[in-house]
C-alpha cells in the first residue's frame, strides 16, 4: 500500500507523520549523558494543584565541543475526539467528531535553543521533536481509493482540512497547558550541567510519562537518555476512583445514600434549630 497522505510540499513544518518509536539510532551513545528527575513519582492527593519537576543532567564531553540538549516529556496516550462548529443558517451546529489516536496526553519539548537551529527537519520529524511533529493519527478517517491509476491508496477522509484539525488539537491542548514548546527551556547552569523545568497542570493526565533527553552535536543526535515519571492518584483520591470504576453499583448507591442522608439530616437540624 502506498501512503498518499503526505502533501506534495514535504518540507512544510507541520507535515503529519506517523509516529516512529524513538529508539536510539546507530551512533547514539548512552554514555555521553547522565540525567535524572527531582521526582519520578508524582502523587495526586486531594491538595494536588499541579506539580513542578526539575530534570537535570550532565554532558560528558571529552573535547570542548558546542552541543545542544533537547528534552521531550510525553504523557500517556489517549484518543481525542475533536468537533468543528459549522454554521447552518443562523445557527452553529456540531460536525461529526474526528478521532485522533496516538497523541500524548501531555507533551513538552524544551531545548537549549530553538529546535530548527539545533537539527534539520528530518531529524525533528523522525524523533518527534516539537509540537509540529507530534505523532497523531486519524486512522478511522482513512479510506482506500484508487488515485492516479494506483490501486489501494490510503487517503484521509478529511485530507484537505487535516492540517487545520491537527493544528486545532495542538492549539486547544496548548491553551489547557498540556502541550508546550519551550525553545529556551533547557538552561546550562554550568558548562556541562543543564536543567529543565517540567510544569504539570492539575488537569495533567494520570499515568506513565517518559522524559527523553537528546544530545545534539552539529545537528546530529549523539547522546540519548530516558527516564520514567509516574503520575498517580494516592490515598482518598485513589480510593474514590478505584471504587467508582471497580464497584460502580456500590459507588452509585453510596453517592445516593450520602445525598439523601445529608438532605434528611439538614431538614432535621434546621427544624430543631
Amino acid at each position: 500500500m502506498v501512503a498518499a497522505s503526505l502533501p506534495p510540499e514535504v518540507t512544510a513544518p507541520a507535515t503529519p507523520v506517523p509516529y516512529i518509536e524513538t529508539q536510539p539510532a546507530a551512533g547514539v551513545s548512552a554514555d555521553l549523558l547522565s540525567t535524572d528527575l527531582t521526582q519520578n513519582r508524582i502523587e495526586v492527593s486531594s491538595s494536588f494543584q499541579g506539580a513542578k519537576v526539575i530534570l537535570y543532567g550532565a554532558v560528558f564531553q571529552p573535547e570542548d565541543q558546542p552541543s545542544d540538549v533537547v528534552v521531550i516529556i510525553r504523557g500517556p496516550q489517549a484518543s481525542m475526539r475533536l468537533i468543528r462548529k459549522v454554521k447552518a443558517g443562523a445557527v452553529w451546529l456540531n460536525s461529526r467528531p474526528v478521532v485522533f489516536e496516538g497523541a500524548p496526553g501531555y507533551y513538552m519539548a524544551a531545548s537549549s535553543q530553538p529546535l530548527d537551529r539545533i537539527t534539520d527537519f528530518s531529524h525533528r520529524r523522525l524523533l518527534g521533536l516539537g509540537l509540529d511533529y507530534i505523532a497523531m493519527d486519524t486512522s478511522r478517517e482513512n479510506k482506500v481509493v484508487t488515485r492516479y491509476g494506483v490501486k489501494d491508496v490510503v487517503v484521509n477522509g478529511i485530507e484537505d482540512d487535516y492540517l487545520d484539525w491537527r493544528r486545532a488539537v495542538i492549539r486547544l491542548k496548548s491553551k489547557a497547558g498540556l502541550y508546550n514548546d519551550n525553545p529556551l527551556g533547557v538552561r546550562f547552569v554550568d558548562k556541562n550541567l543543564f536543567r529543565a523545568e517540567v510544569t504539570l497542570p492539575s488537569e495533567a493526565p494520570i499515568g506513565d510519562y517518559t522524559a527523553e533527553v537528546w544530545l545534539f552535536r552539529d545537528g546530529q543526535p549523539v547522546g540519548y537518555s530516558e527516564k520514567k515519571l509516574t503520575v498517580e492518584k494516592v490515598g482518598f483520591e485513589r480510593f474514590v476512583y478505584t471504587v467508582a470504576h471497580r464497584h460502580a453499583w456500590l459507588y452509585g448507591l453510596a453517592c445516593v445514600f450520602m445525598s439523601m442522608g445529608m438532605g434528611a439530616l439538614a431538614s432535621r437540624l434546621f427544624r430543631r434549630g
Binding site: V86, P97, G252, S267
Partner: protein, 306 residues
C-alpha cells in the same frame, strides 16, 4: 482552598463550589424547584466537563429534594401513590435518557442537544409563566379578584383504562397519563441533567388537575426517585459521578435550601412567580444564545470516556 476532584481529574476551589451550592440551593428552597437547570450551565462555564457536571449535580438535586420532601411529608402533603406511579414512567425515561445521552456524546452532539432543549423548554415555560404571573400581579394591583383558571379537564384523559384512586391528590384517574408524564420528564431530566420540577409542576396542575396542596410535595417525591435512579445509572454506565464534587455542592445546597425555605415566607406567591419566570427565561435564553454566537474557536475537544 483548592481540592482535586478524583473523577473530573482537575482541581477546583472548594469555597467557590460550596458557594454555588448555597446560591442555587437558596433559589431552590425559595421557589420550590430543583435548581439543576441553573447549576449545570454554571458548572460547565467553570470548566467542569459537561457529562461530569450533569451526573454529579444529581447529588445536589437529590439532597435538596429529600430535605424538602421530609418537610412536606410532615404536613401530609405528599401523594406517595401518585409519585410512585409517575416514578415508574420516570425510571423508564431516565434509563432511556442516559442511553440517548451516551449516544449523543459519541456523535459529538450532546452539548448542542442540551442547548436546544434549554432554549425550547425553559424559553417556553419561562415565557408562559412570566405572562401569566405578570397578569396576576397586575390584577392584584388593580384590586381585581384573581383570574380563575379555566377548569376544563381534558375528557379523553379520564376515559383511559386502568383507573386508580389517589385520595391525597383528590383524583380518580387512569394510571396512563401519570406514567407518560413521568416518562417524558425522566427522559428530559437525564438529557438535561435537571430534576424536572419545572415540567412536572405545570403538568400536575394543568393536565392532571391535582389538588394544589399536594402538587409541590408530590413532584419533589417523584424527582427524588427519578434522580436517584439517574445518579446510579450515570455511575454504573458512564462513570461520571464525582462524589467529591457532589458532596461539596450538596453541603452548600442543603444549607442554602433551608435558608431559602425560610425566606420564602416573606414574599408573596405572585411576586415570586415573576422572579422565577425571569430566572427560567434567562437560563433558557443564555443557553440558547450559544447557538447563535460565532464560537471563539471553531474546534472543540469532546470528551472521550464512554
Amino acid at each position: 482552598m483548592e481540592i482535586y476532584l478524583p473523577i473530573a481529574e482537575m482541581s477546583v476551589n472548594v469555597w467557590l463550589m460550596a458557594g454555588l451550592g448555597v446560591v442555587v440551593g437558596f433559589l431552590s428552597g425559595l421557589f420550590g424547584v430543583g435548581g439543576g437547570f441553573l447549576m449545570a450551565p454554571v458548572l460547565v462555564a467553570l470548566g467542569i466537563p459537561p457529562s461530569i457536571a450533569v451526573a454529579s449535580q444529581a447529588g445536589h438535586v437529590l439532597a435538596t429534594s429529600t430535605s424538602s420532601v421530609v418537610s412536606y411529608g410532615r404536613e401530609a402533603s405528599v401523594d406517595y401513590r401518585m409519585g410512585g406511579v409517575m416514578a415508574v414512567g420516570g425510571i423508564a425515561g431516565a434509563v432511556a435518557g442516559v442511553e440517548v445521552f451516551r449516544l449523543l456524546r459519541l456523535l459529538g452532539q450532546a452539548d448542542l442537544m442540551v442547548a436546544i432543549l434549554y432554549l425550547l423548554l425553559l424559553g417556553t415555560i419561562g415565557g408562559m409563566m412570566l405572562n401569566e404571573s405578570l397578569r396576576a400581579l397586575l390584577r392584584a394591583r388593580d384590586g381585581l379578584p384573581a383570574e380563575r383558571p379555566k377548569v376544563k379537564r381534558p375528557g379523553w384523559l379520564y376515559a383511559l383504562p386502568y383507573k386508580m384512586r389517589f385520595p391525597v391528590s383528590g383524583l380518580y384517574i387512569s394510571v396512563i397519563p401519570p406514567i407518560a408524564i413521568g416518562f417524558v420528564v425522566g427522559l428530559l431530566a437525564a438529557l438535561m441533567g435537571v430534576g424536572g420540577g419545572f415540567l412536572i409542576v405545570p403538568a400536575m396542575i394543568y393536565l392532571l388537575r391535582m389538588k394544589a396542596s399536594a402538587v409541590v410535595g408530590t413532584s419533589l417525591f417523584q424527582i427524588v426517585i427519578t434522580t436517584l435512579v439517574t445518579m446510579i445509572l450515570q455511575a454504573v454506565r458512564n462513570h461520571t459521578v464525582d462524589a467529591v464534587l457532589a458532596f461539596i455542592l450538596l453541603i452548600g445546597g442543603v444549607i442554602g435550601g433551608q435558608l431559602g425555605i425560610r425566606a420564602a415566607t416573606r414574599f408573596r406567591a405572585e411576586q415570586m412567580r415573576v422572579v422565577l419566570a425571569i430566572i427560567i427565561l434567562m437560563a433558557g435564553l443564555q443557553m440558547g444564545f450559544t447557538l447563535f454566537v460565532p464560537p471563539e474557536d471553531p474546534f472543540i475537544l469532546a470528551p472521550t470516556n464512554g
